[in-house]
Amino acid sequence: MLLGAVVWVLTLVICFFFLGHYWWFPPPISQHGQFYDAQFTLTLWVTGIIFFCAQMALGYVIIKFRDRGGTAHYSHGNNVLEVVWTSATAVLFIGLVLAGTRIWAAVHFEEAPAGAMRIEVMAKQFAWSFRYPGPDGKFGRTDLKLVNDQGGNPFGIDDKDPAGKDDITSASIKVPVGRPIQLILRSRDVIHNFFVRELRLKQDIVPGMEIPFHFQADQIGTYEVPCSELCGLGHHQMRTTLEVMPEADFQKWLQEQAAQK
């Protein structure tokens, strides 16, 4: 009896907090982010209604069918009901997956648009590095033996390769607003994960693999990048930022970096 009321109250409290958005997503900064939020909202309503109805029903039967004398109803079930609720949940659940497939496809099945700006990401315990190919548009050759973090060469860029001479490296990622970006994700030790909340995007970075990953940010601002795959004792400090800049500011930054080399 009391339990029925407790289940109801807990359900209402949980629904209250979900509807109130007290701790919630940051606003999206890309079209993908908007699609993501729509899919999340759809899923939240479908599951929210199931959650609410199931818990309310549980609370109801607890209160309604408590032992007050008399006999219980003898029944071994109802095949029609079984078929109905089995089909209904199957349609709802599979339907949700299908509805979200476009979002997944846009991130992973589609290639980055032609002309996307390429940036290489190197993750290591417990720091991020980003490499821009420079005016020639080509990344220079790298060699693990040349890696020198203190000396500003986290990628191990080979000086002898002319394509590498104009490569720019940075400890945070800066991109121009509204341009498609193609990341090439690499790790040199353990698995890390590149995550930008505002982009609604996340991807593991696996040593031994070069994982392509594309996005486009449409809002100027600075966004935190937390490593999101356990990488060791400094995992919680593995932070960098994504800075989305006006095109002109970005070009200026590139030139400053080139001049410092």
Binding site: V6, V61, G77, G100
Partner: protein
Amino acid sequence: MASPIVHVHHAPTGFIRRYIFSLDHKVIGLQYYFLALFSVFLGMGLSVLMRFHLVYPDAKVGFFETLWKTGAPGGIMTPELYLSLMTMHGTIMVFFVLTTAPQSGFGNYFLPIQIGAEDMAFPVLNMLSFWTTFLALIVMVAAFFVPGGAPLAGWTAYPPLSAVGALSGPGEGLGQTLWIISIAIFSGASLMGAINFIATTIDLRAKGLSMMRLPLTCWSWFVTAILGLLGFAVLLAAGVLLLLDRLAGTSFFLPAGLLVNDQILNHKGGSPLLWQHLFWFFGHPEVYIAILPGMGVASQLLSTFSRKPIFGYRAMVYAILGIGFLGFFVWGHHMFMSGMNPYSAFAFSVLTMSIGVPSAIKTFNWIGTLWGGRIRFTTAMLFALGFVSLFVTGGISGIFLGQPALDLYFHDTYFVVGHFHMIMGVAAIFGMFAGTFYWFPKVTGRFMNETLGKIHFYLTFIGVYAIFTPMHFLGIAGNPRRYADFTNFDFLGKLLPVHTFMTHAAFATAVVQLIFLFNLIWSAKKGKPAPVNPWEATTLEWTVPSPPPFDNFAGKHPVVNHGPYEYSVPGAAKDYIMQSDPA
């Protein structure tokens, strides 16, 4: 007609053969139960320390330094100690609690009695599987006491972090090696147990006990054993390969081009993703190993205490089989973000959503069982009802995580932590509490105290919601899991009040568990004496004395004439017909 020949088997009289190296499934069941009880309090203790550190990362506590000299110099817990606690919490809870108590504990004790057998099919193997599990626990706990301490790679132990030795961090030396050895030993023990459960269920059922008359508890133990047999075999192989990568210089999981801690490694040709495939091929069925027995217990209790047959018995059996079968085809949903082929994510997500269907069937059938019943609110029943509520709450968040599109944000956030704690953590543990209160009278001949039981239930029920619901909001706000503290990110600082609330809820809920411990010990000595069939239930264990004699049925062979859930049959003299009542 010849009179039936009665062979009564007596227990060995020596203490060691009777209580230590016992072949009696009941003693072995209790040994598993107490091993899990020790482990659950250890695992809970670790989680309380973790919650404390997350909210007060700079606190100086002398006691920490006493426990871990290098992990907490000056009493301040280091991030690596936090990660060790996290790894050991997860490992101990998953393997030594969730795999051990519901299946090996309750299953060992009650499967043979519920099917009318005098013991498991292979009593010696049964004894070996317990003592092997015990050895695994010793090796696991030993990891805390070696130089470098316990491993920090999490219960999933992803290589390269777990494969390159102490280079990748403290605890990754001998600690991680012991962890893998313990898991391999545990896998061996689980394989022995699984074979025993399968053979027992197939071969030792009483006359008249067809598969479709099996109590749902037996069905869930049976299917869980099959999952264990197929899953732990793969985990054992994976563990051996990981050990070889660490100790013999092989490269199963290690690719070329590694530069760890300023040192170039010579491995080449391996794949970190291979481990994830092997691990989750075991790891996902493991989730069902943890929860299926709880579902069985919940079904049993809901029917018994609402005095109604289970709603849709056949649908329930098919749902258990469906979950067991599909459970082997969904491991990829742990790997949507791993870098595996994104096209396979689509297949895995459709299969993952499909497994939600039998889970939903079970929920509907539970509510159908209660509908029109005359519910008796014993503490055991409260925990079974609590199980249903937690199962719904924990299951529903899976609908988010099963979609690769939504996983693009939720993967490795607290949303995941909230999801699996709700369903495989606390729902499964509520199944164990329910089973404990339900079967305690059979095991001891005494009731557990109902007043203490109800206080413990309500405080725990509200407590676990208070701990784990906020995790979903943290996940929505993007809070990554497995962070030792939240001081380095602006957006995480804003979420600290939520963490503080959860920490306080966790402290309170942990303290409340002492009520249960007290109740268990006190009731075993001083509890109200219970009759043979205190709950007016139908299955065979309620036909034998409490506690049952050494060979369960005193040499007799029970015959089953009825299904397991014949409650409130119209025209019957009582409101229940026992399985062994005359036809």
